[in-house]
């Protein structure tokens, strides 16, 4: 390429990059505006509810819409983030490259920070956790009072006044029970206004009317009084189904907590691995070999080589059982549809085509998840492969015998294939995202059987090729070996299972 064309190419690439960013930014902003326009009637309505003192639904809406603001925000941040120049001409942010770039300031370690992508996750998870906690607090605090009130004393009281209070909303009013009652403790007279611990108002009128009808002025009934603070009282100390709404924010709390744990995993791992702090100016001998080597994030041999199984026969275990797959899918489907279901239920009670259109994609995803459950349920009835190696200490050039059999209705199998597969897997950072790349680098067919009667069980002797690479498991890269079993079934989900094996760094020849 002539040298003068290089700057032109760079210019064109630069312009294209800007155009791409501008187009992407416009699309993201258009999405945000579209969501805002579509959701504005809903949001205005929630604001009205908030003004009327009803907080459950507005908070639910806030939690629901949070991702629609956070995700475009993160996308814009990623698009316009200033990229740091690569150290030492390296494309990847390898630890050595980073340290080498800092060599001008001496080789002493610097405080390690969270990777920027982890920071994004951290902020997202913290938001989830905070909103979930705030929301949950509205239920948990009254729930705590209910528990506390179990030790309160029952005291006779007289109803002085009662009514169903109406709270105006933009399209629908909400209602609450307002009551005033009098009771005596230790010769002193007190007045209370608390019907039950869970406050706020809701849309049902009839239920509140019935409560008020049973609490007409002059009625003598019982209230519950805190013996330590007799001015604290309540008419109904029991639980109601509305407390179940408290479980919803707890899901967000759990998600936020898991997100925080995952986001800080890398940082915690680095802290664990970091050698004792080296003071600036510490001498060669003071720091010691461990300190000097610890300037770079490095792994010991034992961390990356597979542990050898005990000599002799080895029964292999499937990496994910059909039950595990079903459990994961069911959990995800319940979580997703549980949240979407609340909004669908609300929509059922108060039809609104704008909200309905908005919910369609979420409902569709939920349906796909639900359809996957019967598929996995059918797979539960599949015959389960059982694999056994005569010698589990696989190594390049070493031969062993694989025995297979099936538990369950193996007669329904139409064909069977078993292969030994080697897979490279690396993780790499690109901008704010972390990606995983997988490559199959070895594939050895061991069994290819279609003849009935020979499918249910059998054995095959095989040798790991002498020039095969052993198993390797770094933190961000690995080479894994698996035995892949594929049994074809007629008009039924196929048997698809994988059994991890280790190929030792030994030679079998």
């Amino acid at each position: 390429m002539p040298p003068e064309t290089e700057p032109r190419i760079r210019l064109v690439v630069g312009i294209l990059s800007w155009v791409r960013r501008l187009v992407m930014t416009a699309l993201v902003l258009a999405f945000v505006v579209a969501v805002a326009v579509l959701a504005s009637p809903l949001l205005l309505e929630e604001l009205e509810r908030l003004r009327a003192g009803e907080w459950q639904r507005p908070l639910m809406m806030l939690v629901f819409f949070l991702p629609f603001v956070a995700v475009p925000g993160l996308m814009l941040r990623r698009l316009w983030r200033r990229r740091a120049p690569a150290a030492g001409g390296e494309a990847t942010a390898g630890t050595l490259g980073t340290e080498a770039a800092e060599a001008g300031s001496g080789p002493l370690p610097r405080r390690r920070r969270l990777p920027s992508s982890s920071l994004g996750w951290l902020v997202g998870a913290a938001l989830f956790l905070a909103v979930g906690l705030v929301f949950a607090a509205f239920f948990l605090v009254p729930f705590g009072r209910v528990i506390q009130a179990l030790t309160w004393q029952e005291v006779p009281c007289e109803i002085l006044s009662s009514r169903v209070a109406r709270h105006s909303g933009s399209d629908q009013a909400t209602f609450s029970v307002e009551v005033l009652y009098r009771y005596e403790v230790g010769g002193r007279s007190f007045q209370g206004r608390r019907y039950r611990f869970l406050g706020g108002s809701s849309s049902g009128y009839e239920g509140k009317r019935e409560v008020v009808d049973s609490l007409q002025p002059g009625t003598v009934t019982a209230c519950w009084v805190d013996p330590d603070e007799p001015e604290e009282s309540v008419l109904d100390r029991g639980l109601s189904w509305e407390y179940l709404f408290g479980l919803l924010p707890l899901v967000f709390v759990a998600l936020g907590a898991v997100g925080l744990w995952v986001a800080t995993a890398e940082w915690r791992r680095r802290r664990r691995k970091r050698v004792p702090a080296v003071e600036p100016g510490a001498s060669f001998e003071e720091v010691g070999a461990e300190g000097r080597a610890g300037l770079l994030e490095r792994l010991a041999e034992r961390d990356v080589l597979p542990e050898a199984p005990p000599p002799g026969e080895l029964l292999l275990e499937a990496e994910i059982s059909p039950l595990g797959k079903l459990g994961c899918l069911t959990g995800l489907a319940l979580f997703w549809n549980g949240i979407v279901g609340v909004f669908v239920w609300q929509l059922w009670r108060e039809p609104d085509w704008v909200v309905g259109c908005f919910l369609v994609p979420f409902v569709l995803v939920g349906l796909v998840l639900l359809v996957g459950i019967p598929y996995q349920l059918l797979a539960l009835a599949n015959p389960r492969p059982c694999l056994r190696l005569d010698d589990g200490r696989l190594a390049p050039g070493r031969a062993t015998t694989l025995h297979w059999s099936f538990a369950g209705a193996a007669g329904r199998l139409r064909s069977l294939a078993i292969r030994l597969e080697g897979r490279e897997q690396v993780r790499y950072r690109s901008g704010d995202s972390s990606s995983t790349r997988r490559e199959v680098v070895a594939r050895l067919p061991l069994v290819e059987q279609t003849q009935r009667g020979l499918l249910e069980q059998g054995s095959v002797r095989f040798e790991v090729p002498a020039d095969a690479m052993h198993s390797f498991s770094g933190r961000r890269s690995s080479l894994d070996w698996v035995l892949v079993v594929h049994g074809a079934m007629a008009r039924w989900p196929d048997v698809q299972d994988e059994f991890g094996v280790v190929v030792l760094a030994e030679t079998g020849w």
């Binding site: 060669f284 490279e424 790349r437 490559e439 052993h470």
Partner: protein
Amino acid sequence: MSVEVRLLEERDCWSPGETVRAEVRWRTDEPPEGVEARLLWETRGRGDREEGVVATVAVPAPGVLGEEVVELHLPRGPWSYQGRVLQIVWLVEAVLWPSGEQARAELVVSPTGRPLEPLIEADDEDTADAKL
């Protein structure tokens, strides 16, 4: 100020468990606090880099000019590997303290006399990228 490292044996490949002999030479204006030779492997390729130091030999309080022959014992693995998205490379590294200046020499650690490689050709079906 300079540091050099050179493998003393006239060969490219070592078997796991063997000993590597290397010569470290340095020349500085000021006496360095120390010189260190390290035997390590590192991953290259598409993924983020990882490293493992398996042996170090320290030379405390060396003069401004000097040379040292070091012997470093190779472990049983990992073996040198030239994969599709993952490569494992062995190195002897010499580092001057406290400047951090370093020199490196590559070697192959393999029982077959050359880096291990994938056993099948690349196939689009076998490739999968997943973003997080």
